[in-house]
Symmetry: C2
Subunit: 454 residues, 2 copies
């Protein structure tokens, strides 16, 4: 399914545009206009001659220029009519944010809408959704005011989300945490375009490196199975499934009109097609934030380097408890080299506790010796910056050591401002940083499990 | 065990004080002096007449005034001698930060030290530790420079931590996250004072509401069992155990000389004495941050209120998957009242999805009706502030609703700056806030489990 017009339209019409700043149709206009000055935005509203400085049309059919995408924000009872007018005008790509269909019990209206969309080969996001966002093409077509949230920088994470609220909260948080995004779509009831269509499109999108999904209920099980199977071979898919419990299923039905289905069925499919199943939203983005970086994981042998003994121990426990990770055993050559550079009281082993008095130089010695070791597939580097002998150039040391290789270094650093400043520098150099050992190791475990099966 | 002199000494001597800002003995002096101007700090160093503006003594025995606490930061081979001098001077309370004892293989030196301390009824923290910190008495006797970390505000969390690195990283993070602390002790090898002594002391400390512990190996199993059993009836104890795996145990032995013991034994004891076992450091402080507030939980019935449908669903799934939590069923009276105030499209149920267009007033209506309901023991309140109709006074509405009751409201809000600002306001009103449903619900589950057994 080609969805290029959805995510990077030259001309967008907003049907139901409004002059009232509290209305969805106003927020949408503003967001699209402010996110890129290059895009042409056309308001459609029969009762206003001009909206936000743009000439308004009574009907999309009156617009002379070619329209790539129409966003529909009119009440439910007018949606089908608007869709028909779009079709008459030749606008085949739509985002319908309007709610009040099957999630409110009106299945007939939604079925009629779907029939028309299908018959006329249109492509519609929604209904009952928040809209779409593309950090790469600078398109913000979400009906949430920008004052209260931030938007992530361009990057490789795309997020297909059935829930609008989860989508916007996570986008806002992602911006704060420095996660880099490609595309976001809140698809609500999935009246016509469904999760499988988005998956297929994103698998061919060169900006997308990892696909995150929050799913309540899949529309077409067979289609999803076939699509996901194909896509997961190309790009990792990370999923949180909502509506796992009986109570959750009931809630999903009145939320997006979804049949959430049996947990076992979903988990079975995820396992068969090699989808990375995560237990919660935080874990999903922990996994994605590692996969967004240019890494290559060739095996499951992890070496821990730490300047905090306790962190070495809890990391070791977490690796032991993991499903897919093993401890690396350093080659004899590496051991010999490390013995030369490390002080006597540093035991050459795994975890390698380079001690609370570790200098930046000691980190450098550890990294430059261990990174090329063929017995090591992944390095977990605990760097607690509170200890005084680490200098601020530690971030250069780590990123320089990393520059020559795709072998992943995952850094764990806990703390406040000083720590956050250094962590941010590392992330700018494509090195993922976690606050806690368990978060890093759970993410790595899932990733290695995926790589093994691919 | 009375440890008041340790945590709130009037006069502190630093044995091994130094003029060199890179030395432990200098950092300790500075931290103690800067954390409170009321405390008298006396440097002991035979080679300097003055350190940081204070007259230095060759030996603690030369000091005329009464000394409440001596911090020992001399090399391992001089420690016993310094301890003997303290005893001669009548100083019975010590913090020995020096390392190089059993954790480095020298068990004899540590045994000799312990014998002397025991025989002379002294009370010593350490050896091989980071020191102590008391937010209530403003004592910072840690040997980490203050420039790189922050310290938490005074409050009710005390943290007994065998690992120095975990201690300082968590303290720094706790400050950033707004957790409020009473006492922190990094106790290293537990040569003489052990985890049970700290537990007993903290159970009688009026400032401490919840005790967190990171333990690698317990020194005296029977003593720990008896003490923890008694203390857990009075105050919650939340534990992370390090060295659960075979590999982790080996690492613990060379870290604090601890015999980490069998996982099953520890877990069995935790269960028997009603210690709250958590799986990682983050979870430990999630639990503690709820318990630090003045709450009373009378049962396990949770009502979810949310303005995000998806958040309602994942929260519902998490409660279903929990060990101890159940869904509240609103009383008929509450249901009737809610029907009056909520719009038609809000289903009166659990989760109560007050919809993406919820105003602050709708939150108020939901809270004031549900809080007094006898069928509800805990409220999970999802407040996604990105939606435009919530006004900033939502924090006043929530905290005013909460003011009359000890029934806990746990808030879930995800986002960046705007969200963080509002979350901080709630926390100042003793309302715990979490970023993700799973974190809040896991913490609540553990707390309800503890309350049930108490």
């Amino acid at each position: 399914m080609e969805l290029k017009n959805l995510f990077n339209p030259k001309t967008v019409a907003v049907i139901g545009a409004s002059r009232n700043p509290e209305k969805v149709g106003n927020v949408l206009m503003k967001n699209i206009m402010e996110s890129s000055s290059k895009r042409i935005v056309i308001p459609i509203n029969p009762n206003a001659p001009e909206i936000l400085g743009k000439k308004s049309y009574k009907n999309i059919k009156e617009v002379k220029e070619k329209v790539d995408l129409a966003i529909i924000a009119v009440p439910a009872k007018f949606v089908l009519e608007s869709v028909k007018e779009c079709n008459d005008k030749g606008v085949k790509d739509l985002v319908i944010v309007t709610s009040g269909f099957s999630e409110m019990g009106d299945k007939t209206a939604e079925d009629n809408l779907k029939s028309f969309l299908d018959q006329n080969k249109m492509r519609a996001v929604g209904v009952n959704c928040l809209g779409i966002y593309d950090a790469q093409s600078s398109l913000n077509a979400l009906f949430i005011p920008r004052e209260r949230m931030k938007f992530p920088k361009p990057g490789g994470i795309s997020f297909v989300c059935q829930s609008g609220a989860i989508g916007l909260a996570i986008i806002d948080l992602a911006a704060a945490r420095g996660y880099r995004f490609s595309k976001f779509v809140s698809y609500g009831n999935a009246t016509q375009l469904d999760e499988s269509d988005y998956l297929e499109y994103l698998s061919n999108d060169k900006d997308t490196k990892v696909i995150c999904m929050y799913i309540e209920g899949v529309k077409d099980g067979k289609k999803f199975f076939e699509t996901a199977k194909k896509v997961a071979k190309k790009k990792p898919i990370v999923v949180v499934k909502g509506g796992l419990s009986e109570e959750g299923k009931k809630a999903a039905l009145s939320h997006t009109g979804s049949l959430a289905g049996a947990k076992e069925t979903y988990f079975g499919i995820f396992d068969q097609v090699n989808i990375i199943k995560t237990d919660n939203l935080e874990e999903m983005f922990n996994v994605a934030s590692v996969l967004e970086n240019p890494i290559e994981i060739k095996g499951n042998r992890v070496q821990i380097i730490t300047n905090g003994g306790g962190y070495g121990i809890v990391s070791t426990d977490a690796i032991s408890a993991s499903k897919n990770l093993k401890f690396a055993e350093l080659s004899e050559k590496t051991q010999k080299e490390l013995k030369k550079t490390m002080p006597d009281y540093v035991h050459i082993r795994n975890p390698l506790d380079i001690s609370g008095d570790a200098t930046s130089q000691r980190y450098k010695d550890a990294l430059t010796n261990i990174l090329p070791d063929k017995n090591v597939d992944v390095i977990i580097l605990v760097a607690l910056y509170q200890t005084p002998l680490i200098t601020e150039d530690i971030t250069n040391i780590i990123s320089r050591a990393k520059a020559g290789t795709k072998k992943p270094i995952v850094v764990i650093s806990t703390g406040s401002d000083f720590t956050e400043k250094l962590s941010q520098k590392l992330e700018e150099h494509n090195i993922p940083v976690f606050m806690f050992p368990h978060s890093a190791i759970t993410a790595l475990d899932k990733i290695v499990g995926y790589m093994k099966k691919r």
